[in-house]
Amino acid sequence: MPSTLPLGDPAPSDGLLPAQAVDGSTDRAFGLYVHIPFCAVRCGYCDFNTYTATELGGGASQDAYAGTAASEVSMAARVLAESGLPARKLSTVFFGGGTPTLLPADDLALILRRAIEQWGIEDGAEVTTEANPDSVTPESLAILKDAGFTRVSFGMQSAVPHVLKVLDRTHTPSRVPQVVQWARDAGLAVSLDLIYGTPGESLADWRCSLETALSYEPDHISAYALIVEDGTKLAAQIRRGEVPGIDDDDHADKYELADQMITEAGLGWYEVSNWARTPEQACRHNLAYWRGDDWWGIGPGAHSHVGGVRWWNVKHPTAYAGRLAQGLSPAAGRETLDPETRNVERVMLEARLQSGLEVSALGAEGRHQVASLIADGLVEPHAAFRGRLVLTLKGRLLADAVVRRVLPA
């Protein structure tokens, strides 16, 4: 998550949710996101809410974190119940960061166990952790598997050393096939995360990264264009002219190449930046974000959504730990969305999915645009015929522009 939090309304100190959150909750899946705000080093492009070991001390230390996060899990279960939400089993759990695997596997297991104690977990639930290739071992992966994890997503980013260097990634490319094998051996599904468009990365570099990643036969691939966020080291390097800037055309070329190569390798896109070997192997937790399901975000700066109420926790781990120690909600702010805004979000989010958006969700103005979107080659004509707005390859690259066109001015 980005280092700046949105502006919203103040959140109540007991964290209780308004009645709106309850409406229709039985139709929505419930998931848990757990943010682990620690990294061994901060990468130059990263503006996520994460801290290196030396940046934090006192009650916010890595050692104490699992206990703190687990206490928010308990609070979450109580708040949901007291707010009148029905008991729902966990459908998906996702540990992200930061680098979750920088914590001992037992710590991750502890947090997951606490969650399962509170809510229970559906049969066949998806439980993922992000991992840095540097920070897993066969033993740690086995512990995760035993605790109930089903899936691991490795931050491979690139197979090319000079690209990894610009990204400040510390792992050596040759370690990736090894950790993929260990994860397989432990019985975990494997996803690889790639980043394209890094300054200095050629099209050939990117092709090499894709070929390498695909040769490990992952179940799932995410390929994200590098975004240069203000305030990062990379932004400063670009401003000073030390590394070249970002070129959208280069990103477009690389996205097209990625889609072509990944598709040829037998995976299919299900969201703008995500491809899965089979529809069942799509990341269901990720889909929940785009489909407007409910999830609780644990950890400093984590975002949550329940029935049109969005909130986010205080950013700093020390402040976060302090709030929980006092028995207060760690929420920093929240938004309660009106039906109109919820519909805007629905259009904005579902348009990114291969399953598409119901055309009937659009207003008259938006429906009127569909024909011209087809004419411009941005929307699949056949799907539109069946009443669904599904983006073409060109449309996926212009998804935000398409959304602006179909939403009322």
């Binding site: 998550m1 477009a252 700066g301 975002h303 998804a399 935000d400 939403l407 001015a409």
Partner: protein, 617 residues
């Protein structure tokens, strides 16, 4: 002994023999207003404690820019050798755009103070106004100002002035408006050297209007100089050019606050109030007479203000159109030279085509609209008025490129000016190069002093309205000065260049140019627009064309990527806010066909940056 007069002559009962009417001719920044302030103070008209810097310049813009747009007149008493005199100081506008107003102010005087900065020497506009004063047979008192400055070169510039008007360099007065040094001697010299006004006190009344201003509370205040006879309060007066009659509600003098009097007699200068609300009913140069006993002939020199430069003014926010309309109506009350009519642009929406005396007039008007009425405006590139004769002998006057006729044209005439440029002689080459590139024909060149020259050119007005002065300034490192006056017209090989976005003509960017410059205009504009217009979801060709012939072409490649790769850890709020911001941005776009053009692109494309670029070099 106090230099102030012990008794002030009473208006309406003042012998012309003790009246002195004068104005100050000076360049912007040469210290006219400061000197005037000092005179007001020394004559006791304004108490020192009431002194605002530049008392006479009333409008904020005037005070800030240190220039005078509207003239005023102040009556000051001054005593010399036991006699009290009435001095009328008529403040004149200092800029080339207002030459006609200057000429009327000069016609109201018997003498002029030629005020020149002792560190800079005479400038082109001052020289032009000096010639105007000499044509009006005014007695000139040459004065060097700012002699307290370390950079002052009084000997050099005194010699320059003496050679211009004749006489001895020693006779050039040296003053400092800032310290007050020499100001009393100047007041004495005004009394001694300037002739008293002459007129027939028994003839029917004739008074010349040299200024009229609109005052929210009092209506139009008309400033006059009485030539013959006398005007009294409550009588009916007539404007001789329009035959309009009014009742004289109030008559008086400014000293410097308006002070009603029993009338104004021969040679006196003062104001009239008739209750009218529009300065157009009190035209500068017109003659006021008594309706009951009218004069047979009006005073010479009256002319209608004629706009020279035209520009479209459009509110940035279309809903401000009524505000702009009301604002123009109000400005018009106070500005007889301003003309406007509604116009529509496909690209810019509803606005007005406004006629101005010149570029400064345009700038000032625009600034007043933006500042006093809180408007954000786009102004299109300034245009002159062309006379287009079609093959069927029909004549069309074109002030806007979009009115340019599309039929067979037999002849196009464009307005010409004769321009005078003063500069140090080292810049002669650069100035000639500039004028030549603007289709100028040299008229002559004279040395004012050893190292300063006066260069005369005849140029098309269209070539100097846009950026000529800025470039002249930068090419002469700020030393060059320019004056121009209308000088007939000429037949020229002119064409209209249209700019098209994806085949749609954008009227705001059309221009009438000389055929030889059409190509460079086309290339400049298409290149500029390619940089200014963001990429769209489709390729956008930008073409420049004369009629159906394409002379330049650029294209904006289609945008290929407009999507955020991911949403961070479920921070949907941030993504939605970004979308809302983008949609807000879209609202500020103008649609040209399917192409979204940001307002800023219009503004930037319509502003010249040639001069700025050059200044940087």
């Amino acid at each position: 002994m106090s230099p102030m007069a012990r008794t002030a002559p009473v208006p309406a009962a003042t012998d012309p023999a003790i009246i002195r009417n004068f104005c100050i001719i000076a360049h912007i920044d040469h210290g006219k207003s400061t000197l005037a302030d000092r005179m007001l103070q020394f004559t006791g008209v304004v108490q020192s404690r009431d002194m605002k810097a530049q008392y006479l310049d009333r409008m904020d813009i005037e005070r800030e820019r240190g220039i005078t747009i509207k003239s005023q007149a102040v009556r000051m008493p001054w005593e010399l050798e036991g006699t009290s005199y009435a001095l009328n100081m008529i403040d004149t506008p200092g800029h080339v755009d207002f030459t006609y107003e200057v000429s009327r102010s000069l016609a109201a005087c018997e003498g002029a103070i030629l005020l020149v900065d002792a560190a800079q020497g005479i400038e082109a506009q001052t020289l032009a106004n000096l010639y105007l004063a000499m044509e009006n047979n005014l007695t000139i008192i040459p004065v060097l100002n700012k002699i307290d400055l370390p950079a002052a070169q009084p000997e050099k510039y005194a010699a320059e002035l003496a050679s211009l008007i004749g006489g001895d360099p020693e006779d050039v007065l040296r003053v400092s408006g800032k310290t007050g040094m020499g100001v009393e001697a100047l007041l004495d010299k005004i009394v001694r050297d300037l002739p008293a006004p002459e007129g027939n006190a028994n003839a029917p009344a004739r008074a010349m209007i040299f200024d009229s201003v609109y005052d929210t509370y009092r209506g139009v205040v008309t400033y006059v100089r009485v030539v013959d006879g006398m005007l009294h309060p409550r009588e009916r007066i007539q404007m001789m050019s329009t035959r309009a009659t009014h009742e004289l509600l109030e008559i008086g003098v400014s000293s410097p606050e308006p002070t009603p009097s029993k009338g104004l007699g021969v040679g006196e200068v003062g104001y009239l109030i008739t209750g009218v609300k529009d300065v157009r009913l009190s035209k500068v140069g017109d003659t006021v007479t008594n309706l009951a006993k009218p004069a047979a002939d009006s005073l010479p020199g009256y002319a209608d203000a004629k706009p020279m430069v035209f520009s479209g003014l459009y509110p940035l926010d279309g809903t401000d159109y009524p505000v702009l309309r009301d604002a123009l109506e109000k400005l018009m009350l106070n500005d007889a030279a301003l003309v406007y009519e509604p116009e529509t642009s496909a690209a810019l929406g509803f606005g007005f085509r406004v006629g101005f005396l010149g570029l400064l007039h345009l700038e000032i008007t625009r600034e007043r609209l933006e500042r006093e009425y809180n408007l954000d405006l786009i102004s299109t590139a300034p245009n002159v008025e062309y006379e287009v004769t079609l093959e069927d002998k029909k004549v069309v006057h074109v002030t806007n490129p979009s009115e340019y006729p599309s039929g067979k044209i037999s002849e196009v005439r464009e307005p010409m000016v004769s321009a005078t440029i003063l500069a140090p002689n080292e810049f002669v080459g650069a100035i000639m190069e500039l004028c030549q590139s603007r289709r100028g024909v040299m008229g002559g060149m004279d040395y004012l002093s050893e190292d300063r020259v006066e260069i005369r050119y005849r140029l098309p007005l269209a070539e100097i309205v846009f950026d000529f002065f800025d470039i002249l300034k930068s090419k002469t490192r700020g030393y060059g000065s320019l004056d121009w006056k209308a000088d007939g017209e000429q037949v020229a090989d002119l064409v209209k260049v249209d700019i098209m976005l994806q085949g749609e003509q954008v009227d705001a960017f059309s221009a009438i140019t000389h055929r030889d410059k059409a190509y460079s205009y086309g290339v400049m504009m298409t290149t500029k627009l390619r940089e200014l217009i963001p990429r769209q979801q489709f390729e956008v060709p930008i073409q420049a064309a004369i009629g159906s012939r394409i002379i330049a072409r650029e294209s904006i490649r289609a945008i290929r990527k407009d999507v955020l790769a991911k949403c961070y850890g479920g921070d949907i709020s941030r993504k939605r806010k970004l979308l809302e911001k983008q949609k807000e941005g879209k609202k500020r776009m103008k649609m040209v066909g399917r192409v979204e053009v940001p307002q800023e692109a219009f503004i930037a494309a319509l502003t010249t940056d040639e001069s700025k670029d050059k200044a940087k070099k």
